[in-house]
Symmetry: C2
Subunit: 158 residues, 2 copies
DNA sequence: CTTTTTTTGTTGACACATCAACTAAATTTG
DNA sequence: CAAATTTAGTTGATGTGTCAACAAAAAAAG
């Protein structure tokens, strides 16, 4: 009935909460689709994928370095890596300079799954980027930067 | 040490995954801050707040209508409302035309807490919007629209 | 060198999110 | 109107994300 009516848009809502709402919804959609693609193409979870992507671009890495780069929760990272080692996707070599720390890298099995999922993830990523012009993409990333800064600023004075 | 170095930016990463990563990080930050503000100012959770905001702008509402408007999970909505009724923030009046359905509205207690949290949430919202120009805000929402559409399109042909 | 502080990583508890199975009322269909 | 389908809402199982407490190694301070 009221199917295609714009019941909640930037226009009819008192700006109120729009950033938060829209961000949450978009994030949920992107995540759900990522999860589906990863699971279908390689049986990977989103957390596993994220760790693999960072290993791919930065080489073998310590959990703490991963946390610093991504700001993801260190508990979640620890557990995900532990699981991936158990299932043979990663192997860890303990650092000689620091007995607490360990460098983590993909195994052949892990890399094989990564390569299996990658084209699908790349294609999705391309589609997401292609729906905007270059200028729009740059503006989007710039807005992300500004928003993160604004949040950090507010955080610091509270 | 490598504290303020842009270790992971749009420039030095092969575009790869940036939309997803940035979106996830921003969402996490916004959410964490919202949760903190709501909890500190009124002891509300984010889910509770979302329901209250929609009641405020749309008047008394059924769970299903809320789900259609926000795309939030209906299980989560059901449980959140149940909890809010139990703690006296909402009351429900059963619809006479449909015995399954019930209209939900804020109680005085609920509204009082809502009003207590609102100025803090508004101020934060303002700060988030003020960090961008009008044109940038419009571009941001437009990009959100485009991205959601792109995801839906991909979804439909799979 | 020994005490204190910081850093690395793990773990437990818990809130939030997602998915699917389910009940019951309403609606559609033949 | 009876059977089949759709819709509203609840519930359980499970996965993900967040927070804080913790142990052990390393670094800094005395």
């Amino acid at each position: 009935m009221t199917e295609n009516m714009p019941e909640q848009t930037a226009e009819n809502t008192p700006l109120q909460q729009m950033v938060m709402f829209r961000l949450a919804r978009l994030h949920a959609k992107v995540n759900a689709q990522s999860t589906k693609i990863l699971n279908k193409s390689a049986g990977l979870s989103l957390s596993q994928w994220r760790i693999m992507v960072l290993i791919e671009t930065h080489g073998k890495i310590t959990p703490t370095k991963f946390v610093r780069l991504t700001k993801f929760d260190k508990g979640l990272v620890s557990r995900t890596i532990k699981g991936m080692i158990k299932s043979g996707l990663l192997h860890s070599e303990s650092s000689k300079s620091d007995q607490r720390s360990h460098l983590v890298d993909m195994t052949e099995k892990g890399r094989a799954l990564f390569e299996k999922a990658r084209p699908h993830m790349r294609q999705r990523q391309s589609r997401l980027l292609e729906c905007m012009t270059l200028a729009e993409r740059q503006a989007l990333f710039q807005s992300f930067d500004k928003l993160e800064l604004a949040i950090d600023d507010l955080e610091s004075l509270s």
